[in-house]
């Protein structure tokens, strides 16, 4: 089916080609640029093009593929680095040099590479939809191969040995082949049996998060903050240290240099929880700010679909995006080239529904094969002018469970991570408290409340001190301020460029307990009538 280009406006082209479906994938022009049908209107179809449209001419061909935009799901995705359309960036570099120019299609994974297959079934056995048939050894992961059809099937034969992704791993009695790959439409969530409420903590290795605003596996969190407040560093720290099986990191509309830095760093690090290189558990999707804006819009869907794929094998998967605002802006640019009616700040009125249905792809699920997997999300948001009342931050707030507010004034003071402790919250704190209490210490929650209250009291004391000077406060209050300063400097602050970048829950707990007992000691000494400086000195000696 071939039509012609009738009009071109920025990243969108129109055609009169009949029979195209909404969200169908098309090839545009002689260069075969990838596009997606975004609107059908009378006898015209409007196509969003994922690549630079400069140089396209009226009359060039348009070809429908008959399928929506999909990603390829198979072994070989781990440690890969893809653009927003799942093209392998390393391969593109070796084939076309340092600049991204032409748009040839390149297979996402190496089709020559062989993987060891282990059958889990015998010929004659029945497997339900989504149930395991066997697994491939993808480095240290068991890459489960499931019945991808929607019906119960009887296995007729299964391979055993080294197999490449394009070869069948076996067959069903109805004649169907069992393949190690599938193309999945990125805009549709992958199915599961049931969703459960999150109950396990997602340990990030960041004291301020794990202790004050704990995240949950299957939960969602946003990190909004102005520029320079540490969103990227924090996203990357969580990507490095989180206690999950698999990490999918999306650099969405941000800097190229910081991706280069991240790749360099990840290559040199180990997975902190298991003995393997950090890259072995990581998939990167990168569509920097200067890459085509429509592909930026698609990038988070490409990434989350790969994340769901591993979740379906029963893994704990963490999805990170830096930054969701750039995705929203891409949506706005496309919407405006379609001349849609704008909503608040020019964003289309469907911004918040798109956003919330995207974020709903997170969760703890019982997979079709009966395993439990989770998909957690940590998303950065870049509000213009650092003003949190803007539409993207607000829409995210309604759709996510943790709000880690990054504070410009803390960042100016180089207090990093610049998480504001009085405004941030985590709705999972209760759900995961039990786990911390039984795993680490029964004092966990009590210490948490102590720490929160102390920081709160300090805030009001500081206002007084600003007027009267520190000399105007009572000794017990000055002690409290001293302890609060200790909490801020030695506990909440965590420099990502030092050894301290990662703190286990045990270390986190020991740290805060140490400060607590220092406070208790000093307080007891004060009560005996000793002056503050002396009490501090003595407490320091005993702790």
């Amino acid at each position: 089916m071939t039509g012609r280009i009738l009009g071109i406006s920025g990243p969108t082209v129109s055609t009169g080609l009949k029979g195209l479906k909404l969200y169908e994938r098309v090839y545009v022009g002689h260069a075969l640029l990838t596009g997606e049908v975004v609107r059908l209107h009378e006898d015209k179809a409007v196509i969003q093009v994922y690549e630079d449209t400069r140089g396209l001419a009226i009359g060039e061909p348009i070809q429908g593929v008959g399928l929506p935009l999909t990603v390829r799901l198979s072994a070989g995705l781990l440690s890969g680095m893809f653009d927003g359309l799942q093209r392998p960036l390393e391969k593109m570099r070796s084939e076309m040099g340092p600049y991204i120019t032409t748009s040839r299609e390149i297979a996402a994974v190496d089709t020559m590479k062989k993987w060891r297959f282990h059958p889990l079934r015998k010929p004659g056995e029945e497997v339900g939809p989504g149930e395991d048939i066997g697994y491939l050894e993808e480095d240290s992961f068991r890459h489960y191969i499931m019945n991808k059809t929607s019906a119960r099937q009887k296995v007729s034969w299964l391979a055993d040995g080294d197999i490449s992704v394009n070869d069948p791993l076996g067959g069903f009695e109805n004649g169907g082949e069992i393949m190690g790959h599938i193309n999945w439409p990125v805009r549709g969530a992958r199915p599961y049996r049931n969703k459960h409420a999150p109950s396990l903590p997602l340990v990030t290795g960041q004291r301020s998060i794990d202790f004050l605003f704990p995240l949950a596996k299957g939960g969602t969190a946003i990190l909004p903050g102005g520029f320079g407040t540490g969103k990227t560093i924090l996203e990357q720290a969580v990507a490095k240290f989180a206690d999950v099986d698999i990490v999918v990191y999306t650099g969405c509309g941000e800097r190229g240099n910081e991706m280069a830095e991240m790749i360099d760093e990840f290559l040199s690090l180990k997975d902190p929880w298991r003995d393997r290189p950090l890259t072995a558990r990581t998939i990167l999707v990168v569509n920097t700010s200067n890459m085509p804006v429509a592909a930026r819009e698609a990038s988070i869907y490409t990434a989350v679909t790969m994340a769901e794929y591993y979740r379906d094998m029963g893994y704990h998967v963490l999805f990170l995006a830096d930054s969701l605002s750039r995705w929203a802006e891409a949506l706005r640019e496309i919407s405006s080239s379609l001349e849609e009616m704008p909503g608040e700040e020019g964003y289309p009125t469907y911004l918040s529904s798109r956003l919330s249905s995207f974020i709903e792809r997170a969760g703890v699920v019982e997979t079709l094969s009966g395993k439990v997997g989770s998909l957690s999300m940590v998303l950065s948001v870049s509000p213009p002018g650092g003003d949190f009342t803007e539409p993207v931050t607000q829409a995210c707030l309604r759709a996510t469970g943790s709000f880690l507010m990054l504070d410009t004034s803390l960042a100016y003071r180089r207090h990093f991570p610049a998480i504001n402790w009085s405004q941030s919250y985590s709705l999972y704190a209760r759900d995961v408290a039990d786990h911390f209490e039984t795993q680490f210490s029964s004092e966990w929650t009590r210490l948490q409340s102590w720490c929160r209250e102390l920081l709160q009291k300090e805030e009001s004391l500081r206002e007084v001190a600003e007027i009267l000077g520190a000399e105007g406060l009572q000794d017990a209050d000055r002690l409290l301020m001293h302890v609060a300063e200790m909490i801020r400097a030695d506990f909440l602050c965590q420099n990502s460029f030092t050894e301290d970048a990662f703190s286990t829950p045990e270390q986190t707990f020991e740290n805060i307990r140490g400060i607590r007992s220092f406070h208790d000691q000093a307080d007891a000494i004060l009560k005996r009538g000793v002056a503050l400086e002396e009490a501090l000195r003595r407490a320091r000696e005993t702790v």
């Binding site: 071109i8 001419a57 340092p98 320079g228 280069a260 360099d264 804006v293 020019g346």
Partner: protein, 441 residues
Amino acid sequence: MRLSEHIYRTASSLAGPLLFVRNVFAAKFGEIVRIVPDDGAQILGEILRIEGDNVLIELYGESRGLDIQGMSVVFTDSLMQVPLSLDLVGRVFNGSGSPIDGMDMFIPEKKMPVTGAPINPAARARPEEPIETGFSAIDGLNTLVKGQKLPIFSSAGLPARELVAGILRNARTPVASGGFVAVFAALGLTFHEYAFYRKVLDGMKTGFVAFVNMANEPVMERLLAPRFALATAEFLAFEKGMDVLVIITDMTNYCDALREISTAREELPGRRGYPGYMYSDLASLYERAGRIRGLNGSVTMIPVLTMPEDDITHPIPDLTGYITEGQIVLSREMHQHALFPPMDALPSLSRLMQKGIGEGRTRKDHRTVANALYKYYARGRDLRRLEAIVGREGMTKGDTQMLDFAEAFEKEFVHQGDARRGMEETLDIGIALAERFRTGA
């Protein structure tokens, strides 16, 4: 398909910089057209939108005095290209690449599209080698590294111009490289400013390429000039192995031109009237800075902008800060105290500094010195507020010492006047200063 130039005399309407032409066959998006009036000089334009055989063209030149009946429109079948050659070095051009230094056009070695192509993120090499600007406030505390984009946030009336001139004259790579060259793009310059910069460039003699768009020249050229500059920089860096420092001033004029053109196109205005795609547009410039694995050379960028109403949350500094790797913020207060460069150390930041300093890069003690200076200064600045409330008498000895440090830091470390300081000198001054006040910290 068309293979060569086509000429049409079917212009149907003209409004500001926008020209409609009818009955055009197979027009290309982004194609360059030449408008040839009956009388007078020809003007370039670019295809902005195509609907069937109706084409919307944006003119790069002045449309005043044009007449749609009399004009021919030549469709060139090609996108905007930059002529490139080593002979660019030492020359001054206008915003569309024509020489304005009285010498002839050079013979190009090759031509490249002016918009460039995105660097594959997997092909980038991480920036980690320092460039010395000659200013302690930058080199010591906010070190610039090759491949970085580090803007200067100025305000009306502050001496950003003098700072730029100093950097143009003094910047160099400490380690010998395949050559160092400054590419200077001036956007929307007044004659007064032009005269100033011309003098600086004339004094340099060589080691620069300049693209100058004057305040009274077409605004479309204001969008073009930085792209000419960057295509030139990419050529010199990645084909000729040079370390290129691109200085673009003033990005505020650039953004205002973008807004003006967007309004003329009747696009939906975003924050403060700037178009919603300004982030992506700015990124298409700023992201052209970088280094590439396996190649010598680098493109480093210092965009200069004037914050309207001294407001750092204004969309121009805000979007810039979101894309660049840090910012150098100039302060009115420092300027009032006659300190130069009047850099405010607190909001200033070079995000790529960490990898670019220390042993083998600058000096082993660089990080320690920089951290100590920043910490003491931040403390001193905090205490200035307290001092305003309780007075110096109500403060502890340690606190007053930190107050004194902040003042000495501004006067002795940040302030340096016109002299160039090398990295060693900068760090030595820093150490001496920190030593003097260590007991108070």
